[in-house]
Amino acid sequence: MAFYVVQFLTGLASAASLFLVASGLSIIFGVTRIVNFAHGAFYMIGAYIAFSLTERLSGAFGFWGGILLAALAVAVIGVIVEMVLLRRIYHAPELFQLLATFGLTLMVEDLVVLIWGPDDLVGRRAPGFRGAIDFFGQNVPTYDLFLIVLGPVVLGILWLLFQRTRWGVLVRAATQDRDMVAALGVNQKWLFTSVFAVGVFLAALGGALQIPRDAVHHAMDLRIIVEVFVVVVIGGLGSIVGAFVAAVLVSELNAFGILIFPKISIILVFLVMAVVLIVRPWGLFGKPEAAARKTPGLTVNPWRPLTSNERLMALAALVVAATLPLFAGNYLLTVGSEIAIFVIFAVSLHFLMSVGGLASFGHAAYFGLGAYGIAFLAKMAGLPMIVCLLLGPLLGCMGAAVFGFFAVQLSGVYFAMLTLAFAQIVWSIAFQWVEVTGGDNGILGLWPSSWAASPSHFYWLALGVAALVTVALRAMVFSPFGYALRATRDSLLRSEAIGIDAKRIQWTAFVIAGTTAGIGGALFAYLKGSVFPDNLGISLSVDALVMVLLGGVETVSGAVIGAIVYKALNIWLVSQTDLSKLVLGGFIVLIVVVFPKGIVGMLEMLAQRRRKASPPGSPLLAKPIESAE
């Protein structure tokens, strides 16, 4: 019995650390709608600075003072980031801020190694909380007890802050309806900055408080960020109490789950999230999002098919790309194939995100399923390459059909997080089912047949498929189906009123996007000759998101350019410099500032301005539609 009580207490202590970080994320998202990917980075910097301070300052006062000082220092960094970077892009398309914070995260990961060195750092234990107390023969660390108390205390302080202060009232109001708060004359700038500072402070405090139990190292951020997002979503976005309950739920399920299934930890949070979101689409304590006032489709120029001149230009670009084997060596051709494959992957996500308005955080699942489809067909059934290429993506299609059915019941960030949960579940199956998938050692030896084996042939294959896929998806955008899909994106209510079965349209779009991603994955398996669980992993999903955002989410085919720029730059930087993350992150941040609509989005806007300046040309372009803000 004593054991179960202690295990429960241990779970509570884990929950407290998780809650601190999660609460900060929840507040930031609730008010600013920023998916703050850098939250883990702030957590990590908090730990690093606290390590340095507590090593230098002596005594109990030095330790606790160091922890607080570290959290404050990081909050200041957060304020600077908010004022210099994020303020410029609040009006950018939704999720664009994710790109900025992703760039920051990349930079921070290299910076901490530059500043604090590559070794794992182990800090001091907390003065006064070094040992354990005896509980019927079981040891309970006193620091755990401290954390168990701290969690509810922070919750209480936040509750008072939100319920009893004017600032808290404003924050709650902004969480519920940003536009209304702005209309009532509240200075949103400072509200956002202060909220961001509080959120970052909590993240850094959470990191600093890990010092007595963890090692400080440069991968801490990725270890926590996804888990924290999951906790926030399970609890319901913007709900602090929800975050607390979710943290306790997840931690306790883990603490007791490992007694029965020791391998459960790897997937537990995602299973919980999937179940919660299917049963309660807005998390445990969340409320349905208010209908958006802004119609996303109207903030941009209306989409139109390419003019015949532009078609010729696209064709010319394709022809130029197809001549690459005439002068490039094998390495460049293989890189070219890889980029073409990522173009397929990016346009498939772009179709879902831009046309369907459904941002998936787990799109790599269908890419990877396509790749595993190839592996199973080629290795187990021994089918020839051409058959595999035709059948392999069907695994992606099936996965998308099953998961998409559940996912399209939700919308916004909840949709995104459910797709992430499904992707992680697929990933963990690939990772754990060693007999079939080879686990993380993957499936090797999937090389292409001789007709496609030479780099130039494979490049032409990849390029041809990429061109076909892009054209097909574009054609779909301007087909009746595409119009219906865009209608569900722009206004669910109105589209349903005119008889569009929104869920079915969105589900179909999800399956199309998943199958297309599967085609990319299938080619990728042959390009690399092997398949690994990595092909389904979070980082690949994030890469896809970055490509789409970089290209411009409000464009018809921006993802093509986004994929080419991001992938080429990534491969080149990794090859040329040891600080590739720092440079790539810096580049992304720069792009975000210079091109707040993405690369293609910005080019289109410039072209539009030029057209406006010159006498009216086509009647379609002469009538810009005002947004209904």
Partner: protein, 400 residues
């Protein structure tokens, strides 16, 4: 548009940087790949090690008079990126051989690439048994003692312990799984009386140490096998110390004696664990003295195990290239099979039967000295003594 000028400027700066390191045609080039950005704690000393080796090789006249050049790439911890790097090294840099890698899945990915493209590959660090056995191929050689060898070394010491109730804790991925599997198998062969009472599989890098330690303690084992390392190990040890998990229990632990993993523990180092590792401070052989002196003179820092691995990888590559007298992969394979060479740990041989080197490891006990973790009572175990019989190996390895 000042910002755009900065981008353009930066791009040109990188172009220029990229061109600067191109090597001369008559040099012999080795393409080296490792997870530099993902695992700097290991790869930084590793890089220092191989840089020292390159310097020594060239100071001694290079390879049959030609200068040795190593072109190094980061794989970011992703198998697919490692293959991109391998392809660049082979197709565009024209390297004579590939070397390096840390993670097992990356080692396997590069090994499969090498097999497909018929390129010589010297795997430095990946521990998986698959790379020389079940997924072995004729182009791939491996330097470090494998999972099996380290398990066999630890079992030798562990089997002497009186403990009968054992629990295991290992990261939930291939390395952890196969380390536990081999240890259990070899241990149960020697000691049929042993019971395995609990196993814990925290996700790599994400251990929730409190509940895990409690769960192990609840099974009341007499001894524990630990396979976690890095930050997970730190958390496990700290929780274990606070909760008294290690009191009165024997612990056998993979890799914990390596300075990379032992040093961060500082004064929290648990005493008396039986570990594999690298006690650089207590190895008194002329070969190691020479290496230690050269390393400390160059870097003003002590070597980690990564330094040894990096150093010996390039030394071995140079020896293979020198003996082959050619960069033809078939000739290099013929030269490498059965080749013996000196190393800081004494003479090692690349076995013909499975391309595994006989580099060994030190087995000893952890202890606290001046607030730091050290390995004591350590003895070098020759790798060749801890491999299964040739008949068994032949069964494990596919025919070329």
């Amino acid at each position: 548009m000042r910002a755009r000028n900065i981008i353009v400027g930066a791009a040109f700066a990188f172009l220029a940087g990229g061109m600067a390191h191109s090597a001369l045609a008559q040099d012999i080039k080795i393409g080296e790949i490792n997870s530099y950005s993902l695992l700097p704690a290991f790869t930084e000393p590793y890089r220092k090690g191989w840089q020292l080796a390159v310097e020594e090789v060239n100071a001694a006249g290079g390879i049959n008079g030609k200068k040795l050049v190593v072109i190094s790439k980061d794989d970011g911890g992703k198998p697919a990126d490692a293959q991109t790097a391998a392809n660049e090294l082979v197709s565009s840099e024209g390297v004579a051989m590939l070397a390096g890698t840390f993670l097992s899945n990356i080692g396997l990915a590069v090994s499969d690439f090498a097999n497909q493209k018929k390129v010589f590959f010297l795997a430095a660090e990946p521990l998986t048994d698959a790379i020389t056995w079940s997924k072995g191929n004729k182009y791939t050689f491996r330097l470090r003692p494998s999972n099996y060898m380290q398990a066999a070394m630890l079992v030798e010491a562990a089997a002497k312990l009186p403990a009968k109730r054992w629990a295991t804790i290992a990261p939930n991925y291939e390395y952890g799984q196969s380390a536990v599997a081999v240890f259990k198998k070899l241990m149960s062969e020697k000691r049929p009386d042993i019971q395995w009472v609990d196993e814990q599989w925290p996700p790599q890098g994400k251990i929730d140490a409190g509940p895990v330690v409690q769960a192990v303690a609840a099974a009341n084992p007499e001894a524990i096998l630990n396979v976690t390392f890095g930050a997970d190990l730190v958390k496990f040890v700290r929780e274990g110390n606070t909760r008294g998990l290690f009191k009165g229990r024997e612990v056998v632990s993979f890799l914990t004696g390596e300075p990379e993993y032992l040093d961060p523990l500082k004064d929290e180092t648990p005493e008396g664990w039986i570990v594999t590792g690298y006690p650089w401070y207590s190895i008194k052989t002329p070969e190691h003295d020479a290496f230690l002196k050269a390393y400390q003179a160059k870097y003003n820092d002590y070597p980690r195990l990564g330094s040894i691995v990096g150093y010996q990888t390039i030394k071995a590559a140079a020896a293979i290239l020198a003996k082959a007298g050619s960069t033809d992969p078939e000739k290099m394979i013929a030269a490498a099979e059965g080749l013996s060479m000196p190393s800081p740990f004494g003479e090692i041989t690349f076995r013909k039967i499975d391309h595994q080197s006989t580099l060994g490891a030190f087995v000893g006990k952890t202890a606290l000295k001046d607030g730091k973790g050290v390995m004591v009572d350590s003895a070098y175990k020759k790798g060749g003594d801890y491999l299964p019989s040739d008949a068994e190996v032949a069964k494990l390895r596919p025919k070329d």
